[in-house]
């Protein structure tokens, strides 16, 4: 395998690797006929990212026909090659990637200015195929925005924030921080931003959903999108279904697939409440529809005193009452009612099984090039001798 990346694309490649490093510790490399696939997944398998660089991204892309090769390596090792993006831009003229299957080494050679040649021979391990199963085309809600819009949104959340909740209606998207622990909610700062449909390049909502996912990995994609200026597409479905974030241009495609909190958990969540002594932070996430929803819920837990409280001062930076036909109400999390149920398992439940057997290729599956039918298995039993 011989690939050559020149000029500004070296920095793009470096940026992609930095973004992938936000997902997991290992980089999966798979040279395919339609391009070089670089993938990463986190340890809990709740976040997956893949960058596919088409042959045209490279000034030279030659892989032996019938090459069926995939490997994985510590992403930190690859990052040492592309550590300083500013240096890459200033001094690297060409990056040559070649594979030495005999020695189990992937070699990155950077041809730099002033006659400096940097050669990195990185060892790898054989690995199983790593592909997430997701279908962007059948997602209920599709959005596309310039990266600046999204970057300006997430900048309002602290870097320590783990998860955000995104709620969509016909004309609006709300993004707010997700506070899991009810006891903390009264002490926590709640931040909510509202984006109007006209801030997006494309805004198509078929079902009003509210999903919660990890912000850290989302930021990983934004890192890449912002530096390349590519618009970000978001594919949202129901809670529990992964949210897909994509960037594409003519020579590359990046997909970040993030698991979302599943619906039943958010239902259970609403049954937990803060201590009765703690006054509720006034918020206007409550409205008549909320009350109706509460009544429809499991009535084994009595609503607390704060339920009927009228909406007072607004914590939100922008607020429009959600349309009455919300299918899923994770706003119910804001309902600090009922007693705490200590017996309930406290941890959030992320739907992580979006990896499964890869479906046979079909015309609608325009997402991932499907090259194998193998079930994604944990690669622990597949580690062959790397020497």
């Amino acid at each position: 395998m011989q690939c050559v990346v020149t000029g500004g694309n070296v920095k793009v490649l470096g940026k992609a690797l930095h973004s992938l490093s936000r997902i997991g510790d290992e980089l999966y490399v798979e040279p395919q006929e339609d391009g070089l696939a670089l993938r990463s997944v986190n340890s809990s398998r709740s976040a997956y990212a893949c960058f596919l660089f088409a042959p045209l991204f490279f000034s030279r892309y030659s892989i032996p026909s019938g090459l069926n090769f995939r490997c994985k390596m510590a992403i930190k090792s690859v990052l040492t090659v592309f550590r300083s993006l500013a240096t890459l831009e200033k001094t690297v003229e060409k990056c040559h990637i070649s594979l030495d299957e005999q020695k189990d080494r992937l070699t990155f050679t950077l041809h730099c200015k002033h006659g400096l040649l940097k050669t990195h021979n990185l060892s790898y391990q054989d690995s199983e195929s790593l592909e997430a199963v997701f279908d962007k085309d059948n997602c209920a809600n599709v959005f596309r925005a310039q990266p600046r819009v999204l970057v300006d949104t997430v900048v309002h959340f602290t870097t320590s924030l783990e998860e955000v909740t995104v709620t969509v209606s016909d004309e609006r998207m709300w993004v707010r921080n997700y506070v899991e622990d009810d006891a903390e909610r009264s002490k926590a700062m709640l931040t909510e931003l509202c984006l109007a449909a006209d801030e997006f390049d494309h805004f198509a909502v078929k079902s009003h959903n509210s999903i919660t996912f990890c912000l850290k990995e989302f930021r990983g994609l934004l890192l890449f999108a912002e530096s390349t200026g590519l618009p970000v597409s978001m594919y949202l479905d129901e809670p529990g279904s992964p949210v897909v974030l994509s960037v594409t241009d003519s020579v590359l495609e990046g997909n970040f697939v993030l698991a979302t909190l599943s619906d039943d958990h958010s239902l259970h969540k609403s049954n937990r409440g803060a201590d009765a002594e703690q006054p509720q932070p006034p918020d206007d996430f409550m409205n008549d529809d909320m009350d109706a929803y509460l009544i429809a819920m499991d009535t084994s837990v009595a609503p607390g005193p704060s339920t009927a409280g009228p909406p007072t001062s607004s914590l939100a930076t922008c607020r429009k009452p959600p349309a009455p036909n919300y299918r899923t109400r994770t706003y119910s999390e804001e309902e600090e009612n009922g007693e705490e149920d200590p017996g309930r398992p406290p941890d959030k439940k992320f739907r992580s099984l979006f990896f499964g057997s890869v479906l046979p290729p079909s015309p609608q599956m325009s997402t991932q090039p499907v090259t194998t039918q193998e079930v994604l298995a944990s690669d622990s039993e597949d580690e062959t001798e790397a020497e």
């Binding site: 550590r83 006659g115 400096l116 050669t119 990195h120 060892s123």
Partner: protein, 221 residues
């Protein structure tokens, strides 16, 4: 591993020595603390320094003045130990290159620190001048071509490959950071001499020199 700093007499505004050679030993950390007594940064004006040494048995006296405040430090001196003579002689130099520090700084900042050694190859043939590391994830080579515009001097007569403990060379990066040029020389035994040319604000020149013994005998190619 030994480091030497040479500060020429003309760097000082006044330099008077009553004997031909004066040698004593003091604690370096203490000396640095005293020199930085007004804080490390140059904000707040510059510090003036006067060093006095009466002779054997007396302390080294430092007078430091900044903004009208004078501090006097007296540092006890010790019997000087005989510094190891690496016996590195200019006549015995096998290979020598002089590089602009700029490019070496970049290489050193990227060196794989999981490697225990830094291997230096100098040769009249390819790869001319190579720095190599052998770390956890693989090995890396930084090759400087003899035709590079960063290479001010290239005098390599024989191919030599030597390994040096990374931990010994790490301190030299401080000198590299403030230098504008560095000369890398090895002798027939593989002992490494790194000479850093440091130019101060007034354009005056000082040298810092490091000697380092090779880690193990590596067969010459």
């Amino acid at each position: 591993m030994q480091a030497n700093a040479f500060i020429q007499a003309d760097i000082f505004q006044e330099f008077t020595l009553k004997e031909d050679s004066v040698v004593f030993q003091i604690n370096l950390t203490v000396l640095l603390d005293c020199l930085n007594i007004f804080g490390g940064s140059s904000v707040g004006g510059s510090t003036a320094l006067r060093m006095c040494y009466r002779g054997y048995g007396h302390p080294l006296t430092l007078f430091l003045e900044e903004g009208g405040v004078v501090t006097v430090c007296k540092i006890n001196t010790h019997e000087p130990e005989e510094p190891i003579d690496f016996e590195f002689s200019s006549c015995n130099v096998t290979n020598k290159v002089i590089l602009q520090s700029e490019s070496l700084k970049e290489a050193f900042s990227e060196l794989d620190m999981t490697s225990e050694v830094l291997q230096i190859t100098m040769s009249p043939n390819q790869p001319y001048f190579r720095l190599s590391t052998f770390g956890n994830s693989g090995n890396a080579h930084y090759d400087y071509s003899k035709d590079s515009d960063m290479m001010e001097l290239f005098q390599c007569n024989k191919t030599q490959t030597n390994r040096y403990k990374m931990s010994l060379l790490k301190p030299s990066t401080k000198a590299l950071a403030i230098s504008c040029k560095v000369s890398v020389r090895t002798d027939s035994r593989g002992v490494l001499s790194l000479q850093y040319l440091v130019r101060n604000d007034d354009g005056q020149i000082c040298f810092v020199e490091y000697f380092c013994c090779p880690d193990e005998e590596v067969e010459e190619e």
